[in-house]
Each structure stands twice: as C-alpha cells, then as structure tokens.
Amino acid sequence: MVDNSARAVGLLAYDILDTPPERGYDDLVLLARQICATPIATMGLIDAHRQWFKAKTGTTVCESALEEAICRLVVEEDGPVEIEDLTCDPRTAANPNVLGGPKVRFYSGVPLRTPFGTIGALAVIDTVPRPGGLTTAQREALEKFSSLVVDLLELRRRSSALDDSQKRWRSLFSNMDEGYYLARVVRDETGRICDWLYQEVNPAWERHVGIGPDQVLGQTYGALFSVDEPEWVDLVTRTMESDRPVSFLQRLQSTGRWYDGTFYPVGQDYFSATFREVTKQIAAEQRQAGLIALGDVLRDERDIALMISKAMEVIGTAFSADRATYGEIDHDIETITVSEGWALPGMPPIKGIYRFDDYGKLRPTLLAGDPLVITDTLTDIRTRDDSEAWLSLRARGVINVPVREDGRNVALMLVHFADPHEWTSEEIHWLHNAADRIELAIARRRADELQSMINGEIAHRLRNTLAMVQAVARMTLRHSLSKEEADRFHERLHSLGRAHDLLHSDDRRAAVLGDLVGNILGDASVLERCRISGPVIRLGTRAAMSTALLIHEMTTNACKHGALSLPDGIVTVEWLIEKTVSGSDLVLLWRESHGPSVIAPTRKGFGARLISFGLIGTGGVSLRYEQEGLSASFRADIEKIMRT
C-alpha cells in the first residue's frame, strides 16, 4: 500500500496542482503520444483524493476520481504498468473509462519518481487493444520522457524557492530603517572609477537622502549631487579594489548631511551600500566637544579680545556654521559694534558698527531680551524687507543670543549660516549656555585686570614709599649714625624692597625662594661666589619679608666676618623639604667654607636677633661655628611659609 500522505507531501513540495498548462510538460506529452503512436497521452499527478492532469493530449478531461485513475496503479506499483487490453485485466475491466466514456483499451504508464517520492505517471493510452504492447524503443522513450518531466518539475521547484528567498530579502531591504542601494561603478577612459550609476534603492533611501527613489534610478551620483567629492569616490574605489566591505562616517558636502554606513562589493562592477543619516548625532557630538573646547578657551586665555575670538571659532566649528562673532550693543539696543570673530574663508568681513534698523524689525525681540532666531532672513517677516543687507553679509540662517551683565543685555553672540538653517531647541539652549559662560569669563577677566592694575599701583606706591623712607632716613640720620650703621639700614630697607618686587611681579602674589636668595646675593655682588640650589618654593608675603631680611643679614655677616670676607671663601645655600610627624618642613642650609676660622659672636645685635627669628619669625634656627666656617640651618613649616 502506498502511503497517501507521503505522496501528498511530495506534491506539496512542487506546489503544482491546479496551475495553468506549461509548454515544457505539454511538449513532452505530445512527443510521447507521437512516438508511441497513441491518440492520448497524459501527465497525471495523484494526490490523496484525485488525479489531476498537468499536461494531456487527446483528451479534455482535467481530473478524475482516484478510483477511476489507472495511473494510480503505476504509483502503487512504483514501476511501469502496461496493459494490452484493459477489458481483460481484472484491475481495470470494471473501470468506468473502459466500460463507457472514452472506452479506452490500451494503457502504458511509467512512474514520475521525484526526490520526494512517486507523485504520478506519464502515460500513453489507446482506444484499441495493442497486443504485444509498446516496442522496446517506445518504452525506453517513455521512460526518458518521465525523467525529463521530473527534471522540469525539480527545476521549477528550485527556481520558485529562489524566488521566495529573493522575496524575503527584498522585503527585508524595503522594510529596513537603513538606506540601501545597489549601484554599478562608472569608469573613465583610464579605467579609474569616477562615478556610479544607481540601479536599485530601497524606500528608506528617500528618508535618509531626501531624494525620491524615482529620481534616483538610472542616475549617476555625479549628476544627482552635482558636486565633486573625491572622498566618496575614494571610498567606493577602495571597496572595489580591496573586494571587502568598507565602512564610512562621512559628510556629503552638497547637502551637509552626515552618513554612517558600509559599502559592500557585489561582484563585477557592482557594489551595494547600507547607511544611516547621522547628522543630528554628529551635530550633538560636535556641540559636546565644542563645550569642552570652550571651557578650555575661557579658562586659559587671559586676553579678553583673544579669548572672545577663540571662543567664536570654537562655537562656529561646533555648529559647522559659516560665521560666529560677538558684538557689544549700546544701552538702547540701536547699534551693535561687531568684532571680526570667526568666519569660514570666503565670508565677507563683518567688523564694524551696525544699526539694527538697517537689518529689519529686530529691536522688539532684542529689547524683550529674547534671542533673535531666524531660519532664513529672506523669508522671515522681520527681515525679508531688508534681505539685501543680510545677503551682503551672506547671512541667511541667523541667531543672535544676548549676553547679559547685571541683568542687562550688553552684547550679542552672532552665529550665521550662508544657507537657511532650522535652529533646534538644543542648539538655542547650547548657545544660551555658551553666552552665559562667556559673560562669566569676561567678568572674571575684567576683575582680574582691575585687581592686577590695583596690585601694580600698590607695588609702585610701596616702592616709592620705601624710597621716601630711605631718603628721609638718609637726611635725618646722616650725622647721628656712623656710615656703616647708615649703610646697614639702607641695605635692610633695600632687601625688603627686593622681597616686594618679587611678590608683586608674580601672578600668585608669591616670591620664589631661589629668586629672592639670588637677588639679595646679587645686590651684595657676591652671587658668583655662592652656590644656590633647591626646589621651587613659593613664599607668602610675610615669609618673603622675613626670609629676605634673614638672607640679607647672613650675607652681610659673611661679607664682613665670614667666608665672603676672604677672596677664596664660598657660600652654599641649599634647601629641601623634609617630612615631619605633622606635615612637611622647609629646611634651608647655609654653609660657609674656605673662609677665616670663626667663633660665635659675644654681643647680640639687631642683626643677630633678625637671624634668630628664622624664616618666618618663629625660630627653628641652628647655628654652628665650625672650623670650616659657619654652618646654619633654618627650619619652618612649609604650609606656613607658603600661606603667610
């Protein structure tokens, strides 16, 4: 017994029942009839319920009940069946087609054996008995035809499977979010790729590129975007030459849009591309990077004018704008004094004074303290009557963001695009934020400048006062003091002046220890006989004063009684930082050598007392009068030295 269901599965695989006639099967059936010299030939397919003829000749019957189908015998036998006289065979004698209807008498059928099982028979039929049946040649031909039928069926099945898979791919490309296209490269006369022709694009293409698929097909890239962008041609050339996918993140100059995607070589001169427009993401990233760069500029640049022009460059670049600049406005917002700022090459210069009324009805917006946001100056209701003025600046997409100081608009930040520009709320928000930060930075710089001017003035007055004290003292004391005493006074005064010089020439209001020591030794003209070494230590105001006096006393003593009183004597001044239980100490070592033998002085004068105060007036002094010369160490808390 043949398994009906298995046969049904075989038939299903070919999906052929009830399909229209096809020439291939019709031709084979016709050939079988001619070769076997019968009036009828059929290609019958047997499913669970009926016999259906895919091809037939000499009969008009399309299908029949399973019980009437003689072909069923072939399928059940799964081998050729030939009956010379159907009326004599018990299997067919009672068949309605034998008894009545076409009254068939001869039947010869061969099975259609497919990889999915035997699904029917190719048969030749005659209305008269044929004793002896088909000749061997006829039977062989019938066998061959049946194989051909199966081949045809297989071919049909495979191509339809391919169609299905193509359909699935096609639906993937038409439904996916990414843009997709297939293109063939165009080569110049030297064989180099110079362009490409769009063969196929998916629906998403339009959303990403902004051009409808109907305008794309059969067009070249060059014709469509009418610009020379070698970087895109390079990418395609690389794809074709390496025969490997090449990814890209690149801007299409003509539209200004950014794309993230991949080119795939397809073979021959074809390639495909999948891509996504990422202009917004890139813009957001650029703004993010701009914010960081802006922070650097506002923090590091000391000069206000330079800071603003650098900040404008950062802003212009972050927005991929054509111009970014800054202008101060008068109290009534009638005019604006615009600085050159930053602009792409080719933009007209903008530096100068402008009247707002020459550029449209801008003042109501600005007086209200709102930013002036214009997508296109040619169409905006406020500016379209004055579009000539805007065009002479090549500014169409325009934004003016107020910069406020003490609650009043004092300046505007101007960003211009040569083309219309849709300002997003993120962009406007970003610019507000930038304006606030610029305003803060300017205010801080102005305060710094004022402070530094005041400091300079204080330093100047202080030095003049010291000079006056010096003059008064000289005049007052010249008869009551010995020359030596007077000199000591003047020199001490001078050392204090030295400390002040250093304190006021430094940004951080600190004196560098090395400079202080060097200056005082230099003033005494003994610098070349001293060796100074130690790390950079910044002294606070009080520490600088007391250290200056201390070093001065040590120098004077060395010149008068110590190593520097002899031509070969030298002084080594070294300092270092030592860890202590509570923190760190600065230790300054003063060592004299090659001088006369020294003994501790018996009388304690003012100079000796100054020395005993140490670096910051709190002691920490150790003096050793050794054979070699005086050796002194001065110690104080480094925190106190730097802070006070």
Binding site: G456, H460, R463, N464, A467, R474, S525
Partner: protein, 127 residues
Amino acid sequence: MAHSLIYTQSAVPTVLVVEDEPLQRMSLMDLVEEAGYPVEEACDADQALAILETRPDIRIVLADVDMPGSMDGLRLAALVRDRWPPIEIIVTSGRGIPQLKTIPARAMFLPKPLSEQRVIEALSQFG
C-alpha cells in the same frame, strides 16, 4: 668756549640727578656727592635738557623713569643718547623693570628703593 675746556679736563665727571620727588632728589644728590662726584639737579626732563645744553662737563645722567612733564625718564634717556652719545645714563624706577628695548644701549637700570652700593658701583664704572 674756554670754560668748556676747563670742564672737560676735569678728572671727576659731573652727575646730573633728574628726579621729580624733592626728598628723593636731595637724598640721591647727597649720596652722589658723598661718593665724590660734583652733582647737578633737575626736577624734570625739560629742565634736565636745558642744563645739559649749557653744561658739557656733565658726563653721567641719573634719571627717574616715572616723572610728570612732557617726557618721562626713558624718553629723556633716549634723547640724551641721541644728542650727547658719550653721556652715560642710569635710569631708576619704582614701577618695576621697563622693557629692554625701551632702555637705550649702554644705559643701566636700577630698581627703587635704590641700593646705595649699586649706585656707587654704577657711578664708578662710568666715571
């Protein structure tokens, strides 16, 4: 001019002190005199120029940078270097060290308050 011959033959050069602040000027003159130099005084650049025109014996000009009047000490120094090239110049200031290019060649700068020893050294170097 007979008298100019006498002046130029003098071994010790005369020093012109230019300082607008009288006390400092007095003190500075005192110092220069103590060091053994004949001294002349001027309270501003204009007066200094007038004196220089009549006193060819002046060989050293000691001038404060910060002075009121038609020119400050630096412009005076430049003018002196231009008109009387042999005259030595010492400029002083309480405003910090001026830019190098504003000080004429061969001139010396001393910060205020002045170190008397440095002033005397400078004079002896030129004198």
